[in-house]
């Protein structure tokens, strides 16, 4: 833990490679169209956020917007700094509301699924 923190506070936070977490992020219900039409994204993400705290779902959403999403229609994923209404987040196949929502701290090996609700019938 101490080594991670040491690595987290370099004098200039660019050159030194940060420790990363391997997770799988998935999109379904049409959201995959915002992410290069690819449902499954194995990702390596920083262990901590800008403030040096453990990476949460909120941080992951920001990371996805800045690094993974190539589409310009950010508003279809994020609205007013939060996930757009109508998108469910499943952490290891469980509703994120069972896990602390945006504050959930991401663990190595987590599977995070973003589902856009469908309305057709």
């Amino acid at each position: 833990m101490s080594t991670i923190q040491a690595a987290e506070k370099p004098p200039e936070d660019i050159e030194i490679p940060k420790p990363e977490l391997s997770i799988v992020v998935e999109f379904t219900g049409g959201l995959e169209m915002l992410f290069s039409d690819q449902r499954r994204h194995p990702l390596s993400i920083p262990v901590t956020n800008k403030e040096g705290n453990p990476l949460t779902i909120a941080d992951l959403i920001e990371h996805l917007c800045n690094h993974t999403m190539k589409d310009t229609r950010k508003e279809l994923f994020v609205l007013d700094d939060h996930l757009r209404p109508g998108i469910l987040v499943l952490i290891n196949d469980a509703d994120w509301e069972l896990e602390g929502e945006e504050a959930y701290e991401i663990q190595a090996g987590d599977n995070i699924l973003f589902v856009s609700t469908l309305h057709g019938g």
Binding site: G30, P85, L88, D93, L98, T117, H119, G121
Partner: protein
């Protein structure tokens, strides 16, 4: 051209009128025939089953709870532990309401009718259209123009005449919801819009009806059993409602309909069949005394995802229970039947309405007819970008159009001129040659036109960039009637 358009308009009106008359006649016939049909069936059984004429009792009295024909009809499900005679009798005494007689409602109604529910109600105010038939399998080519409700009842009647069918030839509204839903024990949400989904959920919470909700789009489907157990507002043991899962509606602009996004028949079919399955499980197991009453086996709400193109097509996800501050089902909820019925809750407003795109000035747009004249004229024809998706473009396009799908433009990240060269802006085309943009109905084309100008493609006004008002739909109406429109 004008007289042709007028004539066509007159003909269209006449067709619409005749269709209405036809629909009316069909309904009359349907109403006339259904009691006769039921009577026939009853008479067919009277010689062998329950209703015995006095003095005719040569064979012993029928002493079983179902009629003889029902034992043959339901035999294959009767012998399953999930159903059994108890479950079958429960099915027979249960009234199920299907809201929406479309891609979900057709298969769901068919299987529930086949399984022998006592009463099957169907709510829908729409009529059958040709574009429905690839997935709404209970309707038929000969019933295009008929009310969906009547068409579906006719189909189910043929499948199982023992069921009492109740057609509700209207859409569910806050005003009629209580009157309709209160007559049923279980509701299936087979509709296609957030407004109806919130309304159905609210009325099911207020009337304490379990709700089987499904949806489908393109190649994906979702299924969730809500309000199960259907406890009173504020009861902690009640299952979550639609608002617990989706407290806020999605922005109206993000809602994609089957008409816009497309849908594969078997995908929506699978979801409708699964709704019937969940309903049968609930009913046969005894609504109200389902797993929830057994403390060892609490109802764990789950959402089933179906992705036809995924390597794991089915995925079950654990969902939250009731939301403590839920607008509808929490202890603090102020939602009442009176409030709902008064219409003071505006579901359309709540879910928002899409506003047509209007980002271009009138002089930045041309009509389809004007573009036709440009094509016929001597001046440089310029370039025509068709920004519909490839699948639309491949079906039919304006001669000479270049397909630059909107989604690819959106996906490209920072707009760069480079993306559009060299394929789209070949050197052989003069820098001042105009660019025209066309899409399906004239919304995306405005956004792309604005974008191309921002990219500097207009060379500070050297080059004319405009969109075609009304898109391919306008082209079909104004220029080329033969164009197949999707």
């Amino acid at each position: 051209m004008d007289s042709v358009t007028n004539k066509a308009e007159q003909l269209r009106e006449k067709i619409a009128q005749t269709e209405k008359e036809l629909q009316n006649l069909r309904r009359q016939l349907n109403e006339l025939e259904s009691p006769i049909q039921n009577l026939d069936v009853d008479q067919g059984h009277s010689s062998t089953s329950t209703t015995k004429q006095p003095g005719e009792a040569s064979s012993p009295k029928w002493k079983w709870p179902l009629r003889e024909e029902e034992y043959s009809r339901y035999g294959r499900q009767l012998i399953l532990p999930t159903v059994g005679i108890k479950g079958q009798l429960r099915l027979k005494s249960t009234a199920v309401l299907i809201v929406g007689a479309g891609g979900l409602g057709c298969p769901a109604a068919a299987y529930l009718a086949g399984a022998g529910v006592g009463t099957l109600g169907v709510v829908d105010g729409d009529i059958v259209e040709t574009s429905n038939l690839h997935r709404q399998i209970a309707h038929s080519t000969s019933r295009v123009g008929m009310m969906k409700v009547d068409s579906l009842v006719e189909y189910c009647q043929g499948l199982n005449p023992n069921v009492t069918y109740v057609p509700h030839r209207e859409h569910l509204t806050p005003q009629n919801a209580e009157g309709i839903v209160s007559k049923y024990d279980l509701v299936l949400d087979c509709t296609d819009h957030p407004t109806s989904r919130y309304l159905i959920s609210d009325i099911c919470v207020l009337l304490q009806k379990p709700l089987v909700s499904a949806s489908a789009l393109r190649t994906d489907g979702q299924l969730i059993v809500l309000n199960n157990p259907a406890a009173a507002q504020g009861a902690a043991n009640g299952g979550p409602c639609y608002r617990c899962v989706f407290p806020k509606p999605p922005p109206a602009d993000s809602v994609v309909s089957c008409g816009e996004g497309g849908v594969l028949g078997p995908v929506v079919g699978v979801m409708g069949v699964l709704q019937a399955l969940e309903a049968i499980k609930l009913i046969a197991g005894g609504i109200g005394k389902a797993a929830g009453s057994d403390p060892k086996e609490p109802v764990a709400p789950s959402l089933l995802l179906f992705s036809a193109t995924s390597t794991t097509p089915f995925r079950s996800l654990r969902m939250r229970s009731r939301r403590p501050n839920c607008f509808a089902c929490s202890a603090g909820s102020t939602l009442t039947l009176k409030e709902l019925g008064s219409g003071s809750l505006d579901y359309v407003q709540f879910c928002g309405v899409t506003t047509p795109v209007n980002v271009l000035k009138p002089e930045e747009r041309i009509s389809a007819t004007e573009y036709k004249d440009i094509l016929a004229g001597k001046s440089h024809k310029g370039l025509l970008f068709d920004v519909r998706e490839k699948e639309h473009f491949d079906i039919a396009s304006i001669p000479g159009a270049v397909n630059v799908p909107f989604s690819i433009l959106q996906r490209h990240g920072r707009p760069t001129v480079g993306y559009l060269t060299p394929e789209h802006l070949s050197d052989t085309i003069p820098a001042e040659a105009p660019i025209y943009v066309v899409c399906r109905v004239g919304n995306d084309s405005q956004i792309v036109t604005r974008r191309l100008k921002e990219m500097g493609l207009d060379g500070n006004g050297e080059r004319d960039i405009r969109d075609i008002k009304g898109g391919m739909l306008a082209w079909k109406h104004e220029v080329d009637r033969t164009l197949p429109f999707t």
